[in-house]
Subunit: 348 residues, 4 copies
């Protein structure tokens, strides 16, 4: 019953198979492997962007920090939500990689509205050397609270960015989950929605550790390559990144795995609706569930072997409600879900 | 005939087996996997340093840059050779990670002498706010020209560092090759030789991508963890790093692979002695061979399918001598070596 | 009628006299001038801190950025208000000098409460490598809205900082105005109130350009000196900074000038109370006045030659209320104030 | 007898007069003062560069670091001499302001040759992500050893830079001394000689603390303004910088002061030729003299009250030769020079 995160499961069989197939003989290093050529073409096709610059790195923070830094000046401020991964979970990596840019928080939650974004942008004047300068708009899809921006919501945000001449970057650590949930194409959720660059996550969805960074505007390509090397993120035996991505892209593995993760979360959600005392914090839309339960219920669940994130201590007032996060990846089994639900239902 | 680099070969079977064994079920992320606990203990045992702080990262540049930065202030200068990887091959990663420290080059080659080191150190005064401040001494073992520091040579360098109160860092990207060549213990080549911290390479010696960073003084541990996260080098599915290192350490795989690489290079070296017109730039001591040949010989070799590094153009004056680098990893076969030698011998 | 800022007036006669007196013959550079020795002692005496490290720089942003950076790690977050100068008016200088630290905003205004501060601090856990780490608490006295923290309020904030082991830094760009208004000693407003380090402003209060940075804990001294040099803020003909501070300290010039500035603002405030349609945004407590007037009133004032800051356009709906900032330094004359008031009273 | 440095003397009367004249009434801050408009025009005229971007800062290190950083990428290397101020005397300020660029040293002395420069440049390939990237060529005029580049020598260096598409930056801390010595125009020594940007020093030549940064290509203007503010080098009461530069430029004060400093050094040099045992390290060409004397001679000079720089200890083998630096600014009197010579002549 492991619902702690989608970075705790094994490789998807297709990813594993591709990794093993690549583990033979000699191959050029540092991204010059032929598998990367294939992967680059496939990703360009996927996004309908034949000129896109496509790169691989081993961590999601690297994808976000390097990708954002490439379109941010050190004196800029990045517009993002308070709960954005880049604000909350990366130990100042964006500030480090940008050379000291600031993050300006839009709202207090996981989703930004066009109105709040515009207000935040116009809070910074132009031509004024004293303030931070207006920089990129960063959008996380799926959000940190497991919610989605619809295509219309994305477009509304990027329209604001466009109106002020600001580039847009999507944190797509759970890109596949979002696309599966929205039922749209990769191009619709990015190029057509006004996104300039993104990270395309693999690690949380069946890979061992690989994320693509995609710039639809290839002018940034060489600078990104220098930033990646300088950041120590150019992997020497790059074939092992390429091969993971190759297996991930083959046979729509990535999309199917994202859909499977969502379906797992939906099954879990449906079951949780019958749990007395449980309240959803947000209506789950992808593969993450945020809900509250009284502390005594958590104590029982944890004692029963359930693993998940808890926003508070396990010890304390037994009736106090404490927030939990349950995450499903593609590898969660129905048996695990049902075992958890049985445990949860016995709580009342 | 792939002698281009030791980052072009496949995983060692033991590393591959450990990676696959770890690819099952759920495991805590971000270095909290139980395999890492095992690996940490093994590395402490290996170096006879029960308190050492031990971390894993995915690239050699990350190991060097993060490790060095942890013991360098932004206003310091690092003492290293002109040919050091951190000076020549990392696109300013050390400067980036240290927040703008300088590298002061000791000599013009791949090895430093105690005299040259001391002269360089004393070139910077103390208590003078105008100059860079004296920082760590960085030593590469095996050097970039494939040579070794003896234990005595290492001790002589660290004695100088110690005399000036400066910490020492070893770039051990080819640590195993060095140890196999010297026939000493890991502790003799580090703790006993006055090394304070090092990178312990896996990638060039049979791993897919993993390097350990070891601090014999654990005071730096927490700062390193923050630097690693901020640098986007804390891998989420960390078990895949841990497992590589587990397989690498098991049954002395690392040392045997290093010895095999050296033996391969020795076989190649022995054969090359009979090649008319070939001159060794340095007497090979580990798994790298630097030699010169007339350009026409390179043209024949390349036309015959040999892959290796060339310090110059393939086109030009046919009689001009051009330097080549031949590198052997553990996976190079006798057949490949002999095929290359046959080709080379036919050159005269 | 120049109420635009307190950085627009001339030198105080005492400062000017000291500057001129120092402008003779030869003197050691880079802070080794004998005037600095005198100034250092005087500042230590002023704060009752015989061991304090005392330095001079030429700009307020340098004092804040260098001072804060000395007690902040790159992975830390600084706690300050939303309106803090370091957040709003320094073009990411704090982020630059700290090497990429973050600012965490406490509340939405110019003053922080102990409750809000504590909530913000505890929003960051400890021992968690993913988040920014808890860093210094930064307090601006006089605030950006012209208000004061009482000694009790300061103590309450620094008690929170102390409880979490965090250092405190005071932006004292208007230190003299604050002290004059509170009627306390320099020691009471700093050391006794739990402040660890501060900038002690001269520029806005009669100097041409000099700020002292004071660390009550001298352990930071050498690091600050290196940071100052590296930041290009170690002035070579330092005597001209020292001399300004010498004149500023002599005969309590600084305190009298601050009191005069406050008195000027009080006279202006008293007069403004009779201006129909004017509303104070905050009750003025030092030398700055924030108030709103209908736009048409601003148009009349500006047409009449008044200079001050306006938070909005001069053109637009004539009845819309627009915020103004009026700042008095010591050099503002009664005649200027009365002229402005006459103009303002004619507005109704 | 104060020959320690040209940053130890008083303000030139013309500079002082302009500073005092500006110290009256209210004036816009942050560079918006009308004096700056006048100064900008004068500097553009001086260089025959009507579009040049012109800025003032308070220190030479700021002028160098901000100016260079504006035309350097963090992954670049700057080409300069081993003895360049930016390499030796700025505590990693260039590395800090560039965000971690490297300095590549051309030769081991104070002057570079076109051949050595080209060799250093071509030592870095292009399109190779592993190495530092080729960045600006930095030239110091007058050099750190008191020597000059002729106009032809400057042109030869900038021709090399141009051939590789690299920008050029001149450290003109002693620009006036160089121009006075060469007898050329400001335009001849910069624009016509292929210089793209420079610092134009005032501090060492009669100002209290002001340097201009000039970009002949104004595309860099806004970025420089942001960098200056972020670096905390935008002075609020900017009129005091403007006024110094105004007085410095008026009546060719700057050029006359530079010529006077050179004449003072020439008088000193002529006298030193008669001092038995003294050997010039370089033939003096501007306002600095480097020579060696036996230690016992230094002991006598120092005991006699002479102040100058010494490259070694005052105690030790009395016959060992130790290098000295004697610097003259415009304010050195004939009496001081003659007193020093009398003392020196009595040494034999």
């Amino acid at each position: 019953m492991y619902f702690y995160s989608d970075n705790c499961g094994p490789m998807h069989p297709n990813v594993r198979a591709a990794l093993l197939a690549a583990d033979e003989g000699f191959m050029p290093s540092y991204g010059n492997d032929p598998i990367m050529d294939e992967v680059r073409d496939q990703i360009r096709d996927l996004f309908g962007a034949p000129d896109a610059a496509v790169y691989l790195v081993a961590t999601g923070t690297a994808a976000n920090a390097l990708g954002l830094a490439t379109i941010t000046k050190p004196w800029d401020t990045v517009f993002c939500t308070s709960l954005a991964h880049i604000n909350v979970d990366e130990c100042n990596a964006p500030e480090f990689y940008t050379g000291g840019a600031k993050l300006s928080l839009v709202g207090s939650g996981d989703k930004m509205t066009p109105e709040a974004l515009e207000q935040r942008i116009t809070g910074y004047g132009t031509g004024n050397v004293h303030t931070s300068q207006r920089g990129p708009v960063q959008i996380t899809q799926v959000t940190e609270m497991g919610r989605l921006y619809t295509l219309g919501e994305l477009r509304a945000l990027t329209d604001v960015a466009r109106a002020y001449g600001l580039p847009t970057f999507m944190d797509g650590a759970r890109f596949a989950n979002a696309m599966a949930a929205l039922g749209c194409t990769a191009r619709e959720m990015t190029v057509d929605a006004g996104i300039d660059a993104l990270s395309f996550g693999g690690t949380k969805n069946g890979c061992a550790g690989v994320e693509a960074v995609v710039f639809f505007e290839p002018d940034h390509a060489w600078e990104f390559e220098l930033r990646r090397k300088r950041g120590a993120h150019l992997v020497s035996k790059h074939r092992y990144l390429s091969a993971q991505m190759q297996g991930y892209l083959a046979e729509d593995t990535w999309l199917k795995a994202g859909a499977q993760a969502n379906a797992n979360a939906a099954r879990l959600t449906a079951g949780l609706r019958g749990v007395v005392g449980l309240e959803f914090v947000e209506e789950p839309e992808a593969n993450m569930i945020f809900a509250t339960l009284p502390r005594h219920a958590h104590q029982t669940l944890k004692a029963g072997g359930a693993e998940y994130g808890l926003w508070g201590d396990l010890e304390g007032d037994p009736d106090e409600r404490v927030m939990m996060r349950l995450v499903c990846d593609w590898s969660i089994t129905h048996a695990m879900i049902d075992e958890f639900l049985d445990l949860a239902r016995g709580l009342t």
